[in-house]
């Protein structure tokens, strides 16, 4: 038993509830919130690898005392290896993902504590709750548990948008909830079909019963379940047709909230993507659909991003478009491709959070995010402008920074898998991404300043600049030493690619 594994979910939930109890004692809350948020990236680093069974119900094979008196009807069959408890599995890949999630959450919460006037309240609650839900999504090996936390993450997303006080946030939140109420029952329906056919909700057991031939893998019901789960995946991660609503959600949140929300959707993307690959990798169609949807997301997301005039909406569309790179890596199905895709996911979370918080300083200073009304802010804060420029370089894949390494790996993987066209599209769209970024950068920092632009807050909190520096350091470390991250991902990608004949 490894007690630190459940703590990774319990700590953020306790933070969420506890900090609301101390309402109105702002200074204390600030200190406690920072200390508790600091444990989020530290916990996964300290925990050792292992599996946690909630309630302590191990599979019978691992618990001889429980299985002693049982009839051979149970111990002699597959029931002996089934997992009766909700199982959380914490391996190398989960360690990396949870560390990155914790880091982004810590920095986003840190910045929000100093940029918003009231540190306690619903905003912090929603952020911590979302972090707890997404940690559970990454850890869980139980598909119904996944669904429950999926819904909680969606509600937390809505909550972050509702309290942002950006114009039009209620409308966007309601749209997101209506679309979510169509999509998530259908995800539940897919889970119900899987449960009905295999009699299990534990993913390892579902795979075991599919592999051993207890259940016919070509059963039409299972194909339908795969379709419905893929549909839920589209909703959870904001792939087309959900890309418009997802980018609207990012643009209606506060910048630090958006930095966290994009991390939520990328982690939902990889968590559910890994589940789809694990269960349905024997269907060639599932990989084709992943590739097709990812291509569509890249093309639509990035071309729509150029046309936007709202700064946050633009980065929102870019974030959706970058999801496509991860999907291509996963869809290739080779070990190299999956490693590259997951590495790209880690990089993208860091870089997009970097960009959101970096451009967020503009919103903090002027309260304006329409690029036609902005300009000439280089004079105000040239230091932040330099950092934002570096973030843009990182997103486009300029060598010493991290996305270069992962995009290079992705292109190598696509050539190795015999699909060099994907590499060409990736390079093309990277160039357009960079152009989009430069358009925003030029409009905000270099264009002559409009006369009616007024600066509300002259001074950017020092914490924000510190957060940007930490993001830059992470980008540089991952860019110079990609092995730091890829070593963690090696295990999961070989096991995922092993399922493909």
């Amino acid at each position: 038993m490894n007690l630190l594994i459940p703590l990774m979910i319990i700590v953020p939930i306790i933070c969420a509830l506890f900090l609301n109890l101390l309402h109105k004692k702002d200074r204390t809350i600030k200190v406690i919130a920072i200390l508790l948020a600091l444990t989020l990236p530290l916990l996964p680093l300290l925990a050792s690898y292992g599996v946690h069974f909630f309630g302590g119900y191990e599979p019978l094979t691992q618990n001889p005392t429980l299985s002693a008196g049982l009839p051979s009807l149970i111990t002699g069959t597959a029931l002996n290896t089934f997992h009766p408890a909700i199982t959380y599995s914490f391996q190398e890949a989960q360690k990396l993902f949870l560390f990155i999630l914790g880091l982004v959450a810590f920095l986003a919460i840190l910045v929000s504590l100093f940029e918003t006037r009231r540190p306690s309240g619903v905003y912090g609650f929603m952020m911590f709750m979302g972090v707890a839900a997404v940690s559970a999504l990454i850890l869980t090996d139980d598909i119904f548990n996944f669904y429950v936390f999926f819904e909680i993450a969606a509600l937390a997303t809505v909550g972050v948008v509702l309290v942002s006080q950006v114009k039009g946030n209620y409308e966007t939140a309601l749209k997101y909830m209506i679309l979510g109420s169509i999509a998530s029952p259908l995800l539940l329906l897919g889970i119900a079909l899987l449960l009905g056919v295999t009699g299990n909700v534990n993913i390892t057991d579902i795979i075991a019963s599919l592999k051993s031939g207890v259940v016919d893998p070509q059963n039409p019901v299972i194909l339908m379940a795969c379709g419905l789960i893929v549909f839920g995946w589209l909703y959870g991660s904001g792939l087309p047709p959900f890309h418009t609503i997802k980018s609207a959600i990012y643009s209606k949140a506060l910048p630090h909230g958006a930095a966290l929300l994009q991390a939520f959707s990328v982690f939902t993307f990889i968590a559910l993507g890994i589940i789809i690959l694990r269960i349905f990798s024997y269907l060639p169609l599932s990989q084709m659909v992943i590739i097709g949807v990812s291509l569509l997301a890249m093309i639509l997301g990035i071309t729509m991003a150029i046309l936007q005039t709202d700064l946050k909406r633009m980065i929102g569309f870019l974030a959706v478009g970058e999801l496509g790179y991860i999907g291509l890596g996963l869809g290739l199905g080779t070990a190299l491709g999956i490693t590259a895709g997951l590495f790209q996911a880690v990089n993208e979370i860091v870089i997009t959070a970097f960009l959101f918080i970096g451009f967020g300083t503009i919103y903090y200073q002027t309260g304006e995010s329409d690029i036609r009304k902005l300009g000439g802010l280089m004079v105000q804060n040239s230091k932040v402008a330099l950092l934002v420029l570096l973030a843009g370089f990182a997103m486009a894949g300029v060598p010493p920074l991290n996305a270069f390494q992962s995009k290079l790996l992705l292109i190598q993987a696509s050539i190795q898998a015999g699909l060099p066209e994907l590499g060409v599209i990736m390079i093309l769209l990277s160039i357009v991404t960079f152009m989009t970024f430069m358009k925003a950068f030029h409009a905000v920092y270099m264009k002559p300043r409009p006369l009616d632009l007024e600066i509300k807050n002259d001074k950017i909190p020092r914490v924000t600049i510190l957060a940007l520096f930490i993001f830059l350091i992470v980008c540089l470390v991952l860019g110079l030493f990609p092995q730091v991250a890829t070593d963690f991902l090696q295990g999961i990608s070989t096991s995922l690619a092993g399922g493909i004949p």
């Binding site: 119904f144 309601l174 209506i178 029952p185 259908l186 119900a192």
Partner: protein, 120 residues
């Protein structure tokens, strides 16, 4: 009967889901939309329940005096039922949040028509 109970409930669940999607797509009133969305959730729950049903079975409560093997062969499968309890509560809370947002939006726009409140 033409159909057994399990199949008929699966069809009922499918009909509920289709009615709900129909309402979400074609009805313009926000409250009607929310009612329709609640039906989609109900349909998915009924589907799960029907998955656990056992024709001619008994309720999955182990009473003293029952033979263990007989119970194991006749009881309904309780796992989906446990899941539905969670799902019902999630559905109700999601609906409450949506209705709350609708009330705020009504104060702002003075209308419940989706094409007016949520258009563009």
């Amino acid at each position: 009967m033409i159909m057994d109970t399990q199949l008929a409930s699966l069809f009922t669940a499918g009909a509920l889901i289709i009615i709900g999607i129909f309402a979400a797509v074609f009805l313009d009133n926000l409250i009607k939309k929310v009612i329709g969305l609640a039906f989609i959730g109900d349909g998915a729950n009924l589907f799960l329940i029907a998955m656990g049903y056992k024709p001619g079975g008994i309720v999955y409560i182990y009473l003293p005096g029952m033979a263990r093997d007989w119970f194991a062969q006749n009881a309904a499968y309780p796992l989906p039922f446990a899941l539905v309890l969670t799902s019902i509560v999630i559905g109700a809370s999601t609906m409450a949040v949506m209705l709350g947002i609708i009330m705020v939006l009504y104060k702002k726009h003075g209308s419940l028509r989706a094409s007016k409140v949520l258009g563009e």
